[in-house]
């Protein structure tokens, strides 16, 4: 049986600290505390900056003796996160888990993983290959994915292309420039104007 009293305390502690950490954990539904949704901000100075990433959390019966199961629901381009399923490769979510850790410290570790990819122990081999062999393209793709999937408030990629087309640029060129700029519409506009 999940230790719900502890989970309750963890949620309280997390919400007290939300201003500072930016890390949020809320129950998925009112029915149970065994399914939660975690939210982490993309770390500053990384291709994930500005993005908000959602993580699906399922607590096994033996929690806190067994690690929480965590999986990105927001699509992420990262060597240690599956670009398809969102599965995370992180030691503390497996055999290095300890009851001394919490949902918040686990999410902080996931956030740290975004800052410091470990391509030698990949979850997603394709992304890891790209990270090692063509770092610039990796950064561009990761930034593009962040823009496209992790920024809910900003415009979707379709709208951005539409906006550039309205300014008079050809659609194919607008799209490719936008992709090259990692989804940054202002940077794309600059490139389109100068090019």
């Amino acid at each position: 049986m999940v230790d719900f009293a502890r989970v309750q305390k963890e949620l309280q502690e997390c919400s007290r600290d939300i201003e500072r950490s930016g890390i949020k954990v809320i129950p998925k539904s009112e029915a149970t505390l065994a399914r939660l949704i975690g939210t982490i901000p993309g770390p500053v100075g990384t291709p994930y900056e500005g993005g908000t990433f959602q993580i699906d959390i399922a607590l096994p019966d033996a929690y806190p003796f067994e690690p929480p199961k965590m999986q990105f629901t927001t699509k992420v381009w990262h060597p240690n996160i599956s670009s398809q399923s969102g599965a995370i490769c992180l030691d503390i979510l497996k055999d290095q888990w300890s009851p001394a850790l919490t949902l918040k410290t686990a999410l902080l570790s996931v956030q740290a993983l975004l800052s410091a990819p470990q391509p030698d122990d990949p979850q997603d081999a394709v992304v890891a290959q790209q990270y090692l062999k063509d770092y610039q393209t990796f950064v561009g793709t990761a930034r593009y994915w962040t823009e496209t999937f992790a920024k809910k408030s900003s415009l979707g990629i379709v709208e951005k292309v539409q906006k550039l087309v309205e300014m008079g640029f050809p659609e194919a060129q607008a799209r490719s420039t936008l992709e090259a700029a990692g989804g940054d519409e202002n940077l794309a506009l600059e490139k389109l104007c100068s090019g």
């Binding site: 067994e66 670009s83 398809q84 055999d95 300890s98 009851p99 001394a100 979850q123 081999a125 394709v126």
Partner: protein, 310 residues
Amino acid sequence: MQNHDGVQVDGKVESAASVATPEFDEWANFGDQDIMQQHSAIRAEEAEKIPFLGDKAILKSLDFEPLSSLASEYQSGSAILLEKIKVLGEQYAAIRRTRGDGNCFFRSFMFSYLEHILESQDRSEVDRIKANVEQCRKTLQSLGYADFTFEDFFALFLEQLDSVLQGNEESISHDELIRRSRDQSVSDYVVMFFRFVTSGEIRKRSEFFEPFIFGLTNATVEQFCKSSVEPMGEESDHVHITALSDALGVPIRVVYLDRSSCDNGGVSVNHHDFVPAGSDAPKASEGSEKVTPFITLLYRPGHYDLLYPK
């Protein structure tokens, strides 16, 4: 776009293949969670074989009879070990085995300590260790651990401590102590309590422990505590034993059953006493008197069991 999730897991799968081996074509979909599941299935299977804590097995003199499986294990091997097993039989009356799940040191310590209190009804020792436990709590707080991460584990240990003292409503019998030690919902909590205490002590005195840890694992104190002390199932070494003994002020004797032999050709079984650094350890009498630990563990490379002196 091709995704190769799971490609890298092949090696890990092979090393854990004793339970149902998946078909090869499923391996591409064999993710981390499947591996975790397989690991816990293997653990559960092993758990069926040996309880957390075994029965007390009487050693006949010169004969490690209840360990016939162990003896046969060594029969074709080292004569030194067989000799040592005989010597052990002369000094020790019984052995109690613990499950080899990486928690054996802490579980042996737990049972041995609580059994000692149950049998001795030494209330001054209980008062003494409670003061140390409070100190450990403060240590963890000052190291920045959130209370809710450790308080349940502390509470459960203190509860066991009170219940082995007789004469109150919660008092328990020896049989009940054995039952609880085999019950995961009690036993694992107490093991985790000791892991917290050990980690806190190592971090608090990191300068002292640093060289030992560096020699052992090449890791920093912080890394060592996170990866080798706090996770359940991580095996204990002399660093863990020293830290736990110091933190709780409880001396521990470890008897070594290994292949080392003596220079003079005679066979003796080595032991080492871990005596707490603090001076408030329970002592037989005057300060100059040698401390005799009431906890005796048998160490064979990779595993600890409990020994009962004659």
